[in-house]
C-alpha cells in the first residue's frame, strides 16, 4: 500500500518560515554580517522564502543571499546510478569573515551539507557556518552534522520518502511523507 501523509500543510508552512526568520534575527540581528546561502537545487526556494520574510521584518534592505551548487563537491561522483545535473552557482560576494547560514529543505544523511561546507570554502573563510533546514530526518545521519534551526523534526524509516513541494514548482506549499512499503 502506498500511503501519503501531509506532515506540513500550507498554514503550518508559513508559521514555520515566520518562526525560523525570527530565530535568525535573534542571532544575527540586522544581518549586517550574516549571509544566506541556499543549496541547489531544492534549498533555494526555501532560501528565497526566508529571505523575503526577513527583508520584510528587518531594516536592512540589502541582506546578502546566494545559491550554491554542490555537484562537483559531492562524494558520490561515479558511485550513483544516475549522473547529477549541476545547477547554477550565484554568489557574487565574498563570505570572508561572514556568518553564513546554509539553507536546505531536507536534512537526511548529512552528505550534501558536508559537500556544501567544502564548496563554501571556495568563496572565502567564513567566521561561522550555521545550518537551517525545513525538515530534519532524525536518526538517519551518516556524518556528525546537526542543524541549528529546524522547521520540523520527522522520524522516518528508510523506505519512506519526504517530498517538499513549493508553490513555485508544484503549485502548492506542503511537505508530504510517502511510504512505499508493501
Amino acid at each position: 500500500m502506498k500511503a501519503e501523509k501531509v506532515i506540513i500543510n500550507k498554514e503550518k508552512f508559513n508559521i514555520i518560515i515566520e518562526r525560523l526568520s525570527y530565530q535568525l534575527i535573534e542571532n544575527h540581528a540586522n544581518f549586517e554580517n550574516a549571509v544566506l546561502i541556499g543549496i541547489q537545487p531544492r534549498g533555494i526556494h526555501f532560501c528565497n522564502r526566508i529571505y523575503t520574510k526577513l527583508s520584510s521584518i528587518v531594516s536592512n534592505k540589502d541582506i546578502k543571499v546566494g545559491d550554491l551548487d554542490i555537484t562537483f563537491y559531492r562524494d558520490d561522483f561515479r558511485r550513483r546510478d544516475d549522473p547529477l545535473e549541476p545547477q547554477a552557482i550565484d554568489i557574487n560576494f565574498s563570505i570572508e569573515g561572514k556568518n553564513v547560514v546554509l539553507i536546505d529543505d531536507v536534512l537526511y544523511t548529512g552528505r550534501s551539507v558536508r559537500a556544501a561546507m567544502d564548496a563554501l570554502l571556495a568563496f572565502g573563510r567564513p567566521k561561522s557556518v550555521e545550518l537551517l533546514v525545513l525538515v530534519d530526518r532524525r536518526f538517519s545521519r551518516h556524518l556528525p552534522i546537526q542543524p541549528n534551526y529546524v522547521g520540523k523534526k520527522v522520524d522516518a524509516i528508510s523506505t519512506e520518502k519526504i517530498i517538499v513541494e513549493w508553490k513555485e514548482t508544484n503549485g502548492k506549499d506542503q511537505v508530504i511523507l510517502i511510504n512505499s512499503e508493501k
Partner: protein
C-alpha cells in the same frame, strides 16, 4: 515482510540520457550528437563559473589519474588540458615523445600499454597520425580524449570555438562561419565543420585551391575563392595558421603572396559593411594570416577562446570520468 525501495519516476531514463554522453571516448566530433555537444556546453557553463571563483579547484576527479600523451608539439592544448585536469583534482602524468622511449623504437600501443599498467584511467592523446586515438580506444582499457590526431580531428578545439561563438552571439544556429586558410592539413577545420554543422550553423571555407581537400563539397561546405566575398558573407571568420611543418610540397609560391591574397588586415575589415568576429586557434603567425592590429582588436575573441578552452576541457573530462568504472567493479 518484503521491503520495497522508493520507486524512480518512469521518465528518469530520459533524464539519464540528458546527463550522459552517448560516447565512451571523445575521438572526434563526427561521433557526437548535437545533444552531446549541448550537454558539454551546459557543463562548461558551470565550470566557467568555477574557474572564475577565488578558489578554482573542485574535488570531483580526485580518484582519477589522467595521462597526457603528446607525440607532437603543443603549448596551448597541453597546458589547457593540464590545467583542466588539475582544477578537477585529477592526478596528472605528462609524457612528450621528445624525451621518451619512442625515440628508441617503441610502438604506440606498447608505450600506452605501459602507461596504462601504471593504473591510468584516462588518456589525453595527441599524435601525428590520423586515427591514432581511434586505434587506441579499440585496444586499450581507458577513456581516450583526442587532443589532435594528424590532419584528422581536434574535437576540443572545435567545441571551444563553437562555445565561444555561442557565448558571443547567444546561439550557434543560423550563424555563418567561414574557415580561412589551409583546410587540407587542418584538423581544426574538419572538426569545426562537423561541430558547427551539427549545431545548425552554415559553414564555408576560403583559401588557395591547392589547400582545399577534394571531398570538401561532400561535407556540404561551400568554397569561396575570394577573401573579400567570404568576409562579406560571414558573421564569424575562423582563421587558421599556415602549417608549414605539415606541407611536404609547395602549395603556394610564398608566405608573402599568401599574406597579400588571404591575409586579413584592418583595411579589409573596415571595408566591410558589418562588423565580423575574428577567431584563431593559435598560434598566430602575425603578419601572415592576421596582421597584429586585427589580432589585438576588439573584433578578435582569440583570448576568450583560450579561456573557454579550459572550461570545455573540464566539461569533457568530467563527463567522460563519470563513465570510468570505480574500483572493484
Amino acid at each position: 515482510m518484503e521491503r520495497n525501495k522508493w520507486k524512480r519516476p518512469s521518465n528518469i531514463d530520459k533524464f539519464r540520457k540528458m546527463n550522459e554522453l552517448s560516447v565512451e571516448h571523445l575521438l572526434g566530433i563526427k561521433y557526437l550528437t548535437a545533444e552531446d555537444i549541448s550537454l558539454i556546453f551546459k557543463m562548461a557553463d558551470n565550470f566557467k563559473k568555477i574557474i572564475n571563483q577565488p578558489i578554482k579547484k573542485v574535488p570531483s576527479l580526485r580518484d582519477i589519474t589522467v595521462a597526457n600523451l603528446f607525440f607532437e608539439n603543443s603549448t596551448r592544448t597541453k597546458l589547457s588540458f593540464e590545467l583542466a585536469e588539475k582544477r578537477l583534482s585529477a592526478d596528472v602524468v605528462n609524457f612528450s615523445s621528445a624525451a621518451s622511449s619512442v625515440k628508441k623504437g617503441e610502438t604506440l600501443i606498447d608505450t600506452v600499454n605501459n602507461i596504462i599498467a601504471m593504473k591510468v584511467d584516462m588518456v589525453v592523446v595527441r599524435h601525428p597520425n590520423p586515427g591514432a586515438s581511434v586505434f587506441l580506444s579499440r585496444n586499450i582499457d581507458a577513456k581516450i580524449v583526442n587532443a589532435g590526431d594528424g590532419t584528422h580531428e581536434h574535437p576540443t578545439q572545435a567545441l571551444l570555438d563553437a562555445y565561444s561563438i555561442r557565448e558571443k552571439y547567444g546561439e550557434v544556429k543560423g550563424k555563418k562561419v567561414v574557415i580561412i586558410g589551409d583546410i587540407l592539413h587542418s584538423r581544426v577545420a574538419l572538426s569545426n565543420i562537423y561541430c558547427l554543422q551539427k549545431l545548425g550553423a552554415e559553414v564555408s571555407v576560403c583559401g588557395p585551391s591547392t589547400l582545399m581537400p577534394k571531398y570538401i563539397s561532400t561535407l556540404g561546405v561551400k568554397h569561396i575563392n575570394n577573401l573579400k566575398d567570404a568576409l562579406n558573407w560571414c558573421d564569424i571568420a575562423n582563421v587558421l595558421r599556415i602549417q608549414l611543418e605539415r606541407q611536404d610540397v609547395k602549395y603556394f609560391p610564398s608566405l608573402r603572396e599568401y599574406a597579400m591574397v588571404f591575409g586579413i588586415n584592418k583595411e579589409i575589415l573596415s571595408g566591410l559593411n558589418k562588423e565580423i568576429t575574428i577567431m584563431h586557434p593559435g598560434p598566430i603567425n602575425r603578419g601572415v594570416e592576421l596582421t597584429s592590429d586585427v589580432a589585438d582588436s576588439g573584433q578578435a575573441i582569440i583570448l576568450n577562446q583560450v579561456e573557454n578552452g579550459v572550461a570545455i576541457r573540464m566539461a569533457v573530462l568530467y563527463l567522460l570520468a563519470g563513465k570510468v568504472k570505480k574500483n572493484g567493479e
